[in-house]
Amino acid sequence: MANNHYDAIVVGSGISGGWAAKELTQKGLKVLLLERGRNIEHITDYQNADKEAWDYPHRNRATQEMKAKYPVLSRDYLLEEATLGMWADEQETPYVEEKRFDWFRGYHVGGRSLLWGRQTYRWSQTDFEANAKEGIAVDWPIRYQDVAPWYDYVERFAGISGSKEGLDILPDGEFLPPIPLNCVEEDVARRLKDRFKGTRHLINSRCANITQELPDQDRTRCQFRNKCRLGCPFGGYFSTQSSTLPAAVATGNLTLRPFSIVKEILYDKDKKKARGVEIIDAETNMTYEYTADIIFLNASTLNSTWVLMNSATDVWEGGLGSSSGELGHNVMDHHFRMGATGEVEGFDEFYFKGRRPAGFYIPRFRNIGDEKRKYLRGFGYQGSASRSRWEREIAEMNIGADYKDALTEPGGWTIGMTAFGEMLPYHENRVKLDQNKKDKWGLPVLSMNVELKQNELDMREDMVNDAVEMFEAVGIKNVKPTRGSYAPGMGIHEMGTARMGRDPKSSVLNGNNQVWDAPNVFVTDGACMTSAACVNPSLTYMALTARAADFAVSELKKGNL
C-alpha cells in the first residue's frame, strides 16, 4: 500500500493537467498523473509528423469504414487518416444525445494539447465582470487582476507569439514576436482601421507556436510546416509533451500512469475531504486505489464533471459538488462558422512562402462601452488571406494541357474569416449521467442536453453581417456571407458544468477552484468556467491551473488541506 500514496493526484494529462503536474512537482510534491488513454512519447510517437497527402492510401480522406467507426467525428472535418487514433474510440466510449452534441475527445497522454488550435487570448476585465453587471448566472469570484500575473507566468513558459496592441478588450501578454500577417492582411488591417476610425482592429493571431527557440525546454522554433496536429518534432507549439510534461518529469517527482480511468474520487465523510481515487486499468479491467492529500481534476470539462457525478454518491445523490444544484449545468461552447469570404485584387504579383499555422484575429467590438445590441456579449473573428490553388474553378477551361497549366499556377488572393461567439451559461443546458447506457468498462455515460438560445441566434446574425460589412468596407470583391451549421460541442471549447462562484449554494467551486464540498479537490479545466467570453479558452485554463496549484501547495504547507 505504501506505493499507492502520493502528495497529489492529477486526473488527466491535457493542457490543464500537464500544467497541474508541472506546477505541483516543481513545488516538491510527489505527483501521480493519471491518464485514461495510451501514452504518446514526444517526437518518437508522432508517427505521421513527416507525412504528406500522398503517404496515405486515401490521401488523408475518411473512408466509409472510418465514418462507420467514428460517426460523431465524421460530422465535421476532423476525421482524416493523419490523426486517426488520436480521437476517442466512439464504440468504446459512447454518450447519449438528447439533443445533438458533437463531442470531440482526445483520450491519450497529452489529450487535446496535441490536437488543439493553439489560439491563445487573455480574458479581459469586461469578461470577468459581465455576469455581475448583466445579472446573468452568478458572478465570477475573481477578476482580471487576480489572473493577470498567472497569464504572465504561463505565457512565458508556454511560449505565446503575438503583437502588443494596447486594447482593453484583449489584454496584451508576454509575447514572442508575432507570426506575421501577409501583405494582403496588412493592407486590410490598414483599411479597416481607417474605415472604422480605430474601433475595429485586424491583428496577428496570438498563438502557442513559438517564434524563438526555448532552449531550456529543448524546443526549436515553429518551422511553418502547418502540421501541428500530427505532433511537432521541433516542439514548435505548446503541448503537454513538448512543454509541461518534460518539466514535471525533470523534477523526479512525477509518476505517469496511462490506461488509468478514474472511476470516482474517494470521499472521507468524517474529514469532509477526498482521500484518493479509484481507477480502472483500461487494459486489464483491474481496479486500484490511490490516495493523496490533494486531487487536481483535469479530465477535460465534461469528464471532470463525470468524475464528480460518479463520486460520493452515498452522501449526495448527484455526486461530489452537486449540493449546489449546479453540477453538470451551464454547459457552454463557442458557436461559430458565421462570417464571410471574398476576393482581393491588386496583389497578383505577390505570393507567400511557408505554411502558416495561424492567421489574423479581429477582437470583439460589439457591446463595448455604451453600445447595446439586441443580444448580450460579443464575438471575435479568426481568418486569413491566401492564394487559392488547383481546387479552384477555372471558367471556360475543361481539360487538356492549357487547363493543366492554369490549374498549376496559384489563383487569385482570397480572404475569409469566421466569428467565434460567446454563449451564455444557461442552467437548463446540462449534462447528466445515464445509468442505462454503459461504456466498455461498464461505467455510466454522459447524456447531453444543450442548445443555443435566442441570444446566440441573434448574435449569429451580426457575426455574418458584420463580416460582410467589414469586407465590403475595405474594398474586398465578390464578398459572400458564410452561414455554416453549428451544433453545441463543435467549437471544441466545452466549458462550465462545475462553475466557480462566491456561494456554495449556487456554484461548485470557490475562487481558488476548490470544490466547496471537498476543499482538497481542485477543478481547473474548462469545467470551472463561470462564463465563456468569446476568446479561445485554453490559456485561461493554464493560468487558473498554475494559480490554483500555487494556492493548493501553500494551503497544504499551512496544514489547511
Binding site: R61, E65, N182, S205, F224, G339, R389, N398, G400, E409
Partner: protein
C-alpha cells in the same frame, strides 16, 4: 491556415464538393466491397487514359505518371457509398458508349484528339446537369483525376512546388506569372 479557419470544402474545380470527402451528418452503410471486385486492371488502365486526357503529360508529368487510375479505384472503393460507387462505375461505360457513338471505336483506340472530343463533350454535359446534391458520373471521374493528381507525390512535388520544411513564413515574395503554386497547404 489553422484548423480553426473557415472550413473550406474542396470544390475540386468541378463546381461541387469532393464526393466522398463531404462531412456526413447521417451515417452511410459501411462499405463491404473490396477494391479488386470493383475495378479490374482493365478498368484502371481505362481510368488512367481518361485521366491523362484531362491532365496530360506536357513538359511536366501527367495523370498516368502519377498513377491516377489506380488511386481513383482505391478512393472509389473505400470512400464512396454504394450508390456513389455505382455512379462512378457507370462513367466507364458512359465514356465507352460515347466513344462508340461518335467515332465507332473503343475509347482506348481513339487518337488523342478524338479522346479530347469525347471527354470534353462529357465534361460540358456533366457541368450543365450537375447540382451539389446530384453529381454526374463524369464529375466524379474528373474530381478524382484532379484530386488524385495534385495530391500525388509527382503532382505535388514535380508539377507544383514542394517545400518540405519552410523554416519561415515570408509574407510577400514576388510572384512571376507562370510559376507553379505550392504543392501543399
Amino acid at each position: 491556415m489553422n484548423r480553426r479557419e473557415l472550413l473550406r470544402l474542396i470544390t475540386v474545380a468541378t463546381g461541387i464538393s469532393l464526393v466522398g470527402a463531404d462531412v456526413a451528418f447521417s451515417l452511410d452503410k459501411a462499405a463491404a466491397a473490396k477494391p479488386d471486385q470493383l475495378f479490374t486492371p482493365e478498368d484502371i488502365r481505362f481510368l488512367d487514359e481518361v485521366a491523362e486526357t484531362i491532365i496530360p503529360r506536357t513538359s511536366t508529368p501527367g495523370a498516368k505518371d502519377a498513377e491516377v487510375g489506380a488511386f481513383m479505384a482505391v478512393y472509389a472503393a473505400d470512400c464512396y457509398t454504394e450508390d456513389q460507387k455505382k455512379l462512378f462505375h457507370s462513367a466507364i461505360s458512359q465514356i465507352e458508349d460515347s466513344s462508340q457513338e461518335k467515332h465507332k471505336k473503343p475509347f482506348l483506340s481513339l487518337t488523342a484528339k478524338e479522346r479530347e472530343d469525347v471527354i470534353l463533350a462529357l465534361d460540358k454535359k456533366a457541368r450543365a446537369e450537375q447540382t451539389p446534391t446530384n453529381p454526374q458520373a463524369f464529375t466524379l471521374v474528373k474530381q478524382l483525376t484532379l484530386f488524385g493528381f495534385f495530391t500525388s507525390k509527382i503532382g505535388a512535388t514535380e508539377v507544383l512546388v514542394y517545400d518540405e520544411i519552410p523554416g519561415e513564413y515570408e509574407t510577400c515574395v514576388p510572384y512571376k506569372k507562370g510559376t507553379p503554386a505550392w504543392g501543399t497547404a
